[in-house]
Amino acid sequence: MMGFEIDIHKTVRSERRSFELHVRFQTHARRSVIFGPSGAGKSLTLQAIAGLLTPDNGRIVFDREILFDRRAGIDVPARQRGFGYLFQDYALFPRLNVRQNIAFGLQHGLRNPSAKVSLEAVDYWLGAFDLQEIAAQHPDELSGGQRQRTALARALVHSPRALLLDEPFSALDPELRERTRAELDELLQRIDIPVLMITHDPEDLAWFGDEALYLRDGQISERPPTPVRRISTRLKVVV
């Protein structure tokens, strides 16, 4: 059974405060959502799973493969974990055009892909996301929706074994958000890989939360917070 088994501990210290992240959960659903207010530790959790943040202690397992185990001394680097990651502000490379952004990870070595790079997988995703027209444009010339589609194409072009989504709609204005949710929903039906999303928006939870996890103050809690309980009675809590 494909799925995440997470049990991690991390203390983050900044100048003013110290934050304890102690997250433990398992999920085997196709679409899981970690829901919580900002500052709850959602991004830290997602980054730890992706290998962008090293926990102080614990284990991260995906699909029975140990990605991180402090005691066994295992820490698979982010580049080898095989996840697709959608960043909150999309983190597109500003000096590269849409085509180069999508091809970025397919080209090895110390040079970036050329402006006219032609690879089958890149052309496929340009087509699938209706990006051919703007393939030569740079990120600062794109609309919010186009940026998100470019970032998704860049994540999917590798055929990742799971997709990690960091607040995928928060950078969009409300009208677009509604439509993009439906688009992403449809896309996720087509690609058959597990999806783990973090969000503070109850709507996202209702759309994508086959399995819902509630994160508060660095811990997964059993009960949904009150505003969520009202709109998402169909969701079950899994811890």
Partner: protein
């Protein structure tokens, strides 16, 4: 003046060129290190490395003599082991110019690296790049305009280096006498025509470099 001006100019450009090349490598390495590694005493290291900017060049020259002079610990060792003597050589002038100009590239490079959005580097890692590839494909292209501006300032500063160079390398026409030192010698000797000519050449060279720095600094899409 016996030495043709072009020899002095060539020597000056050679010294400044070497100092710039060395500073490019050192400045990028140390700037990245100070921007990315948190350690106790980081700001102290930064302050010490910035000293050449504020200390009188003669004081820097004196420090250099203490280190690479015949009786300096490094100079003595080089002399004994390899027969190398840096004092009164053009290589000595390169060392003086390199150290005096280093803070300019260090400041620019550190600021440039600190302004690179860490999300972009993370995105590159998730996309399968190793740390070297992240550095050359994301970090350097983003930080390059700032680094380049610093490097050009280094070149301009090295062209005009006087005090430390004079103390370490002296003023041997054709061997260690750079433009700025030749200007000094010409004025001392009352050779006004030579001085005017040298001053004009130095000024023009520096203006060209500064204009280039100004043009390149805000450049977008270098890559």
């Amino acid at each position: 003046m016996d030495t043709p001006v072009w020899i002095t100019l060539a020597l000056t450009l050679k010294v400044a060129g070497w100092a710039t090349a060395i500073n490019l490598v050192l400045g990028v390495a140390v700037g990245w290190w100070l921007a990315h590694r948190r350690f106790i005493g980081r700001e102290f290291v930064d302050a010490v490395l910035t000293l050449p900017l504020v200390l009188p060049p003669t004081v820097m020259g004196y420090y250099l003599l203490v280190v690479i002079g015949k009786r300096g610990w490094l100079g003595h060792w080089l002399q004994e082991s390899f027969g190398i003597n840096l004092i009164f050589s053009w290589q000595g002038a390169v060392i003086a110019a390199t150290i005096v100009a280093f803070p300019l590239v260090l400041k620019s490079a550190r600021t440039a690296f600190e302004s690179v959005d860490p999300q972009l580097e993370k995105a590159a890692r998730v996309l399968g790049l190793n740390e070297w590839a992240v550095f050359f494909r994301v970090t350097i292209p983003m930080a390059w305009p700032g680094i380049l501006a610093g490097v050009l300032l280094v070149f301009a500063r090295s062209l005009g280096e006087f005090g430390a160079t004079l103390m370490v390398a002296g003023s041997i026409p054709g061997r260690t006498q750079t433009l700025s030192i030749a200007v000094y010698e010409a004025v001392q000797a009352g050779q006004d025509d030579t001085a005017n000519f040298l001053v004009a050449i130095t000024s023009i060279t520096c203006i060209v470099v500064l204009l280039a720095a100004g043009r390149l600094a805000p450049a977008r899409r270098g890559l």
